[in-house]
């Protein structure tokens, strides 16, 4: 039987013992302050969330890229690192293999850049404008723009679309030549397939019979008589332009073939050198 004061003391002691075991978290003040701050506007919170998501994803991408880069560098170093010098081996030979590999890599990159640049310059459609065609098919065919004169057969003086393109043109080029309708019957030229000879000239030369300056630069005047008396037939102008494009395409293909033909043997020679060096180092070791 306990007295009232003893029961009070026991209750007080039990309460304190129970409370002593309770330990609140240490971040209580931070949580209170965080809840005391005014809430952020919704767009700001949304942007912050978006930025956090992007950072989280970008970190993974950067980590993957770094891993790939490290693996690649380790592979390259393992493959092309200088070998350990043998007792009787010269020190210079240790570096021959990595230097050769580096030279081959630089050469291949340079050749690729050269081929790419030349091909883009040759094939680019912006270079085959009407103006350049006009200069290349100027009467006389001077300069390097003689593609039309080279590809056109002598019989092209007649102005016939079918005969203005040389038979040696490829099928693809031939397919690109547009179908030209014959000019109306009231044209200045008596026939769509014939060219009126120039005054004072008894024969028709291939260069003058192909195009005239007015017919190529100003399509609006197509069909009119040229100053030098040659025909300015629109059909022949279109055909000549297409032929010029085909000749430029062929020229680009020639450039590509030349570049590849000069690059491939050199790469093969360097690869043979590299293989021989690898054999040499293996034999030495």
């Amino acid at each position: 039987m306990s007295t009232f004061s003893e029961r009070e003391e026991a209750l007080r002691r039990a309460l304190f013992n129970a409370a002593e075991s309770v330990e609140p978290a240490a971040d209580g003040l931070e949580r209170i302050r965080a809840r005391l701050r005014p809430p952020r506007p919704a767009p700001v919170a949304w942007l912050e969330g978006l930025w956090a998501g992007l950072v989280a994803r970008g970190r993974g991408f950067i980590e993957d890229s770094r891993r790939w880069l490290v693996a690649g560098c380790a592979f390259v170093w393992h493959r092309f690192a200088p070998a350990h010098a043998a007792p009787g081996q010269r020190n210079l030979l240790r570096w021959l293999r990595p230097l050769t590999a580096m030279a081959v890599a630089i050469f291949v990159v340079a050749a690729g850049v050269y081929v790419g640049l030349s091909a883009s310059l040759s094939i680019s459609p912006t270079n085959t404008s009407t103006g350049s065609v006009s200069s290349s098919t100027h009467p006389g065919g001077n300069g390097n723009g003689t593609g039309a004169a080279k590809t056109a057969s002598p019989s092209s003086s007649s102005g016939n679309p079918a005969t203005s393109v040389s038979p040696s043109s490829s099928a693809s080029c031939a397919s690109k030549v547009p179908q030209v309708l014959p000019p109306p019957s009231n044209s200045s030229s008596p026939s769509p397939t014939t060219t009126t000879p120039a005054p004072g000239s008894g024969s028709t030369t291939p260069t003058t019979g192909s195009t005239s300056p007015t017919s190529t630069t100003t399509p609006a005047t197509a069909g009119s008589q040229a100053p030098d008396g040659s025909s300015s037939d629109p059909a022949s102008t279109v055909v000549t332009t297409a032929a010029s494009r085909c000749s430029k395409h062929k020229k680009a293909k020639h450039t590509l073939t030349d570049a590849q033909g000069s690059a491939v043997p050199a790469v093969a020679v360097l690869a043979a050198l590299l293989t021989g060096e690898a054999r040499l180092s293996d034999n030495a070791s």
Partner: protein
Amino acid sequence: MHVTETLVADVALGSVSADLDAERAVTELYTLHYRSLVRLASLLLRDVSVAEEVVQDAFIEMHKGWRRLRDSEKALSYLKQAVVNRSRSVLRHRVVVERNAPKPAPDMPSAEHGALALLERSAVIAALQQLPVRQREALVLRYYADMSEAQIAATMGISRGAVKSHTSRAMTALRSVLEPDA
């Protein structure tokens, strides 16, 4: 015009200084009384994390009403009263939830099993948890918080006679639980 601007400036400065005072008061009261308040709430609630939330809510309410209080003593009384009232609300809500929630499987311990076990090690505490809420509050405030009857009455929002009645009945109930043959 000049007087109006001065008044506006004084009001602005007063609000800024009041905010600074509130921040300072929150920091001071947190340093001195946060732990004891959490323990008090945990004795009432039998859950430490909920007790922390209750005390933090009380601090936030005190920060909002700092212009009314403007005194640390008043603020501490306000905090204790807020803790008791919020604990009571939590217990009321918990009773409703437990009444409607499905009973867990016997082999699955409940989520607050650890916190309950921590507090119910003592037979006295276990007997205390079986008391009604008001009687438990009166005992905790009286014997843990060492509050007088007037302070308990003010904190619980009841009269001093009611405090005496609750305390006496609670002690009788504890005695019957702890000394059944008495």
